[in-house]
Amino acid sequence: MALVEIRRLTKQFRKGDEVITPLQEVNLDIERGDFVSLMGASGSGKSTLLNAIAGIDRPTSGEIVINGSDITKLSRGALADWRAANIGYIFQMHNLIPVLSAYENIELPLLLLPMSAAERQKRVEIALDAVNLRDRANHYPRQLSGGQEQRVGIARAIVANPTIIVGDEPTGDLDSETTEQILDLVQRLNSELGMTLLLVTHDPRVAALAPRQLRLEKGKLIEKGREVALVGGDFQERSA
């Protein structure tokens, strides 16, 4: 059984009189330890798919089973608890809480888990070491560079040791040198720590780092090297 199993996932929304369907009966399996990139044109639905997997958006129909739980059936509160325990989210714009220090930002997800203060401190320090920001622990976001802010964002995403880390254009707001540093860090999360990653990106260089590369086109998911399409409710694979 795959870590993430998505079956016949459809997302529709209404824009005026028009019904838009960014995701139409999408199927996807992600195994534990996979590093998956997801590309697609603007408006192709890649962020919608990512947000559905992260449990911050509800699909119109279909199933998303992650680690054995169908998250589409969870209530709003239960889904929040599930996110706290299972999802590490890396935002494009860092989205750090401006009034909290780097340390406090990283500690935030741990406050929601049953954990002693000593255990929290240990985990935050490990996360700070992982992103090489121990010396910036007490700095506030306004005192950090864009790259440092994103590294704090990554530390916040990994600190609770989530089931899967999702990133929505994590390098979209960075210059090329900083992008390299962040990509190196992301690769190490997968290769050295065995973390499961799903990154949405526009950047082919970022996508190329991932062993599995997916593309969303017209609501359908295509994997490089094979096309994944739904016919009659079953998976079919076809050589590209």
């Binding site: 947000n51 992260a54 911050i56 929040a80 608890d81 996110r83 935002f91 909290l100 935030l108």
Partner: protein
Amino acid sequence: MFKFAPYVFKSLWRHRSRTLLTVSGSAVALFVFCFVGSVQRGLSRLTEDQQALRTLIVFQENRFCPASSKLPEDYARTVAKLPGVKEVVPIKVFTNNCRASLDVVVFNGMPPDQLQAARDLTLLSGSWGEFDSKTDAAVVGQAVAQRRGLKVGQRFTIGEVTVSVVGIFRSSVPAEDNYIYTHLDFLQRARGQSSVGTVTQLEVQVSESADPDQVAAAIDAQFRNGPVGTSTRSKGVFQRDTLSDLAELIGFAHWLGYACVGLVLALVATTTVMAVQDRIKEHAVLQTLGLRPGRIFRLVLAESILQSIAGGLLGIGAGLALLAWGGFAVGAEGVTIAFNPSLDLAISGAVISLVVGVLAGLAPGWQAARTQIVTALRQA
């Protein structure tokens, strides 16, 4: 929830000018609330006191100002013989101002041997011995002494009356702290020969078994055909009637108290709404990290309550301190209402601050908790 306390405090400090202005506004409103509340409680104490119900005041009929009520002093002996009467104290009242005033000085001239029995006074300084031996001696209520800066050994003049201060007292009845007690015959003489042999009022203690209304009716009947008619009422009713104009104003002032509560509600709610609108994206991020909508609601509520409580405690503290040190009182026609701090006033102010904080945070908290994560994250 306490794990998020640093976030709540830092969020409030983020817009510190706005927060401090809100806290200041709440403080001013609760300060006024305290003052209005203390006046209302002072009036209630005066008119609803159980002791006041068993004490009768005999005043000259159809007279309202102490200066115009002139009862023959020997009425006291007649009244003392009536059934149900335990004790009669003749009192001469002299006041610097018959109209409503915030700095009214009221002299009560009483027979010195009856003063200590009729009043529950504790001397804070000075001695009763000196009061008994000196004709022009006066014991001064602590509120008047504080307001006028009077000390034992000083001489003090109001109008035609000059007294030697021989004691400062505290009374179990807060309004009494605004009185000055002298010898009856001294005050009668000081006011001119025409006052000798007359008093302003008689204070009648009714025995436990007697009905105060029946005794009052008997007193008025006794003097109906006398040289001076009387009007006898319980002390509570007498004080309420005397202060009726003020009581109406005070009754109206309680709306001012409600207005203050409304002001705090509007102020804190506005600030909290602004804080939530500034942080729509931040609340979406917190939800993404796994905070339940209910927790977001409680965080917003905590900010609202903290601002309201902080302002409330400041205002209540300042109000009670000023009431305690100011010795304020309002009086009319020789009767005064003391503005005193009290524990129940502090508690009711704190409870109101808490309730207002909760009410002010409900709508913004709900708004924050209902944030649609994806939509909010798209905001710049």
